[in-house]
């Protein structure tokens, strides 16, 4: 039996001890003396959240295929255990071996959302690793970050030795081989980092220097050592079908948020919504072949014993053989008591038909993401969905027996006016009217329309990266306008309205487009006790305001300011294929409410074709 890092009395006194004991089905055990590299893969949030993340399962599987690497998992200790570990000086440990993270060669931290940044400091702190990368030597693991937030790593650059920009499938082998060579040659840590910087996709923040202009914007961003490239190239797996996929993902004992097999059918999105970062950074859209998906589905259900399988992609309806995969799942697994979950489907005759086969129509709800309330605004954001399509989809669904509809919108978008906000209420009302047009005896009681709005956060590498944000008061005013208008609708009793907190949005905005000066604020907020900021019950805005004040950093500079056309952004050194010129063109088209066609309809020359694959070459022989 493995010896656990925590003794029984601790495990019995904390919430969900199973978060910390490892030994789950399909967890990989190795002899630590038989490997050269020990990699601790961390998700800076609670176990149940982290265990639901596909990316980590992919990398965990891929790394462990190498006989010389043992990859283990680490999650943020919950606040109850956090306190005990600090009181008793218990170092953070990895789940499989239960060994301290500090003894590892690498600590990889996935960056999925901005509000986990203080949890990164918690992981380092509890591990006994200095927060600043500059204070670390070979006695500490190499701390590497990756994931969507790594597309602007600057606010947390100080805490990382390396960032991996892009998809993990491509150059980790090179990094591991380099690490082994450097340790064998006994090079300095700095020398290892210098050499790593020449691997495509690897960014070493300590080897770049930033200067600022008088107005606070960036003056220059340059490498400080020979052989370090000026730009870092995003990594893309161009052969999705043959790329490694975890045939036997780890199955948690306790229920994770995503308690099912996840089948990633494609990466990228052809739509080009102007607010969406994923839609730009994962270009070009690449599909996995139907045969490979069938095989993965079968293997993963067998190896996990899960009773549900879900498709994953940014827009499943755009998968070129959606009917093929969906019909396969229904025919193959539908009679084995396996649930089939089909998120991110466009509502049309096909999707309504398959959904009625895989779910209980009376209990389930339909989801639309119009994102904006008026056609003008939907054109501004380049969301192709028209009112006609939405109403038609809702009408078909209501006739098919559904009576619950969820609608998602954003508020605080560029060029948005009060009319657009009120338009949200009007759209919900029109949908309700569609329902009540159905004769009473043919419908199923009242309809339930849930309207949810989130506040828009401008993200790097999107056409809206130049946009300004608003104050918390402004945001709440926007929500109030919507709420007020909904209350004035005839069918207001059938419409429910939820809106998000405004102050978290501001912080997300600061982190999303911040520069290196933000790291001082994160460090200070952590010192003041900020942790688990993504959890409403631990979120404390006043602590963050205090941190800005203590560090003398002006939040408004990052949020309320529309960026100039020529401004150098903190993330400009990263090349994602999609060019800044294209994004600027899209920004200008937004101002004119001009729609840009999707990648399949017409190539708009975004720059991603440089990767020579996916949708960019689909119909070109």
């Amino acid at each position: 039996m493995r010896k656990l890092a925590l003794d029984d009395t601790i495990l019995l006194s904390i919430e969900k001890p199973a978060r910390y004991i490892g030994n789950e089905v399909n967890a990989v055990m190795k002899d630590k003396d038989s490997v050269d590299i020990r990699f601790a893969m961390a998700f800076p949030d609670a176990y149940e959240i982290g265990m639901s993340h596909l990316g980590i399962q992919i990398l965990y599987d891929m790394f462990n295929r190498r006989p010389d690497v043992w990859c283990e998992r680490v999650y943020s200790p919950w606040v109850d255990l956090d306190r005990i570990m600090r009181e008793r000086n218990i170092p953070l440990f990895a789940l499989e071996s239960q060994d301290p993270v500090r003894e590892f060669d690498f600590l990889g931290i996935t960056l999925q959302y901005e509000m986990c940044y203080t949890n990164i400091l918690q992981l380092l702190d509890l591990s006994g690793i200095p927060l600043a990368a500059s204070e670390r030597g070979w006695e500490c693991p190499v701390v590497i970050g990756g994931g969507p937030c790594a597309y602007n790593p600057e606010p947390i650059a100080e805490f990382f030795d390396l960032f991996y920009i892009g998809e993990g499938e491509t150059v980790y082998d090179r990094l591991f081989d380099l690490y082994k060579a450097c340790r064998k040659e006994q090079t300095s840590r700095r020398e290892f980092l210098r050499r790593a910087a020449s691997i495509p996709g690897i960014y070493v923040p300590s080897l770049y220097e930033v200067t600022y202009l008088e107005d606070g914007t960036i003056g220059s961003f340059v490498p400080t050592a020979d052989g370090v490239p000026e730009t870092v190239e995003k990594q893309v797996e161009m052969n999705m079908t043959d790329a490694p996929y975890p045939e036997a993902p780890v199955v948690p004992f306790i229920k994770a948020t995503q308690d099912r097999v996840v089948l990633e059918i494609q990466r990228g999105c052809i739509r080009g919504c102007r607010f969406c970062q994923a839609g730009m950074i994962y270009r070009p859209t690449r599909e996995r072949s139907l045969d490979c998906l069938k095989e993965h589905a079968q293997n993963m259900l067998e190896s996990t014993g899960h009773e549900e399988i879900s498709l994953s992609s940014l827009s499943s309806s755009d998968y070129s053989d959606l009917a093929g995969i969906v019909n396969f799942l229904i025919e193959q697994f539908g009679n084995q008591n396996i649930n089939i979950s089909l998120p991110s489907l466009r509502i049309d005759a096909f999707s309504l038909d398959v959904m009625s086969k895989v779910q209980d129509v009376r209990k389930s709800s339909l989801t639309f993401g119009p994102e904006a309330g008026t056609q003008r605004m939907r054109d501004v954001i380049n969301k192709g969905l028209t009112e006609e399509v939405i109403l038609d989809g809702a009408d078909q669904a209501f006739h098919g027996g559904w009576n619950k509809v969820k609608l998602y919108f954003m508020l605080g978008l560029p060029l948005e006016e009060d009319d657009d906000r009120r338009g949200i209420a009007h759209l919900a009302e029109k949908i309700a009217c569609k329902y009540y047009e159905i004769p009473k005896d043919k419908r199923n009681g009242k309809c339930q329309i849930t309207v949810s709005t989130s506040f828009f956060v401008p993200k790097p590498f999107t056409p809206f990266q130049w946009a300004r944000m608003y104050t918390p008061g402004d945001y709440l005013g926007f929500a109030k306008t919507v709420n007020h208008e909904i209350k004035a609708m005839k069918n207001q009793k059938s419409i429910r309205y939820n809106w998000h907190q405004a102050d978290v949005t501001l912080l997300e905005g600061v982190f999303a487009r911040g520069d290196r000066r933000i790291s001082a604020v994160i460090r200070e907020a952590y010192r003041l006790g900020a942790l688990y900021d993504a959890w409403t019950e631990y979120w404390d805005y006043s602590r963050w305001l205090q941190a800005f004040e203590n560090t003398g950093v002006d939040m408004d500079f990052y949020t309320l300011r529309e960026r100039g056309e020529d401004e150098i952004f903190p993330w400009d050194f990263i090349r994602i294929g999609v060019t800044k010129a294209f994004l600027r063109r899209e920004w200008n088209r937004a101002q004119a409410s001009e729609v840009t066609p999707n990648c399949r309809a017409k190539c708009s020359g975004c720059g991603a074709a440089g990767y020579r694959g996916g949708v960019c070459i689909e119909n070109k022989g």
Binding site: M1, T9, L12, V25, I254, K255, G305, H306
Partner: protein
């Protein structure tokens, strides 16, 4: 394994049965679930090598095959030791039958009471009645637990307990031990006990005479 709660152990077996390819029966209705029930849920913190669950299967499978298949897809710490056929009525279910359980209780290292804490056990067990305050969901109430203690002895620091279990009467080993220690003027530290469940029994006696048989003995191997 002792840190996995009962519901999660059930989830574990639901998935293990799928991985093992055992053709289990499902309930009818819109959201079918596996027909599976545990004789007696094991609390978090307890270890055991006497757990029983009943399942209903469609396609016959031999005991040896089922044990092999379930252990092949299992984790360290959970082992299937028997797979036996039982009757089909509700009265044959482990949950209905369970009447008693054996426990071994030791003190976690560093938590042992000072001095001689063992020699009073035989006297404690010899009492006609043992009244304790029992907490229920709503209130606290005085109960005589002596009738629910079938055996109690100590050997080299390990306390053995045979206690009533099941829906009619159920007694937790820590409650007995707390009561004993209180009777000799000792208060145990939190989490002081390590408790191991050894066996679950059905009562096959009649006319008020107890005759305890391990649940596993009631079934027959499938050849």
């Amino acid at each position: 394994m002792k840190f996995i709660g009962h519901l999660d152990v059930m989830r574990y077996f639901q998935k293990a049965i799928r991985r093992a390819g055992i053709d289990i029966a499902y309930s009818e209705g819109m959201s079918p679930h596996m027909i599976m029930s545990f004789a007696s849920p094991l609390g978090v913190g307890l270890t055991s090598d006497g757990e029983y669950m009943d399942i209903e299967i469609h396609t016959p499978i031999t005991s040896a095959q089922a044990i092999e298949a379930l252990n092949r897809v299992g984790v360290e710490g959970i082992t299937v030791t028997q797979f036996r056929q039982i009757g089909e009525t509700k009265a044959d279910r482990g949950m209905t039958l369970v009447a008693a359980a054996d426990y071994e209780l030791t003190f976690r290292s560093g938590c042992k009471p000072k001095g001689d804490w063992q020699s009073g056990i035989s006297h404690f067990f010899a009492q006609k009645s043992i009244t304790v305050m029992r907490k229920t969901k709503r209130s606290e109430q005085e109960t005589d637990i002596r009738p629910m203690i079938y055996e109690m002895s100590v050997n080299a620091g390990t306390v053995f307990l045979k206690l009533a279990a099941g829906s009619a009467a159920n007694l937790k080993p820590e409650l007995v031990m707390d009561a004993y220690l209180a009777s000799i003027g000792v208060e145990a530290e939190p989490f002081a006990y390590e408790i191991h469940r050894c066996e679950l029994y059905a009562d096959t006696g009649s006319n008020g005479k107890r005759r305890l048989v391990p649940l596993g003995d009631l079934g027959t191997d499938i050849e």
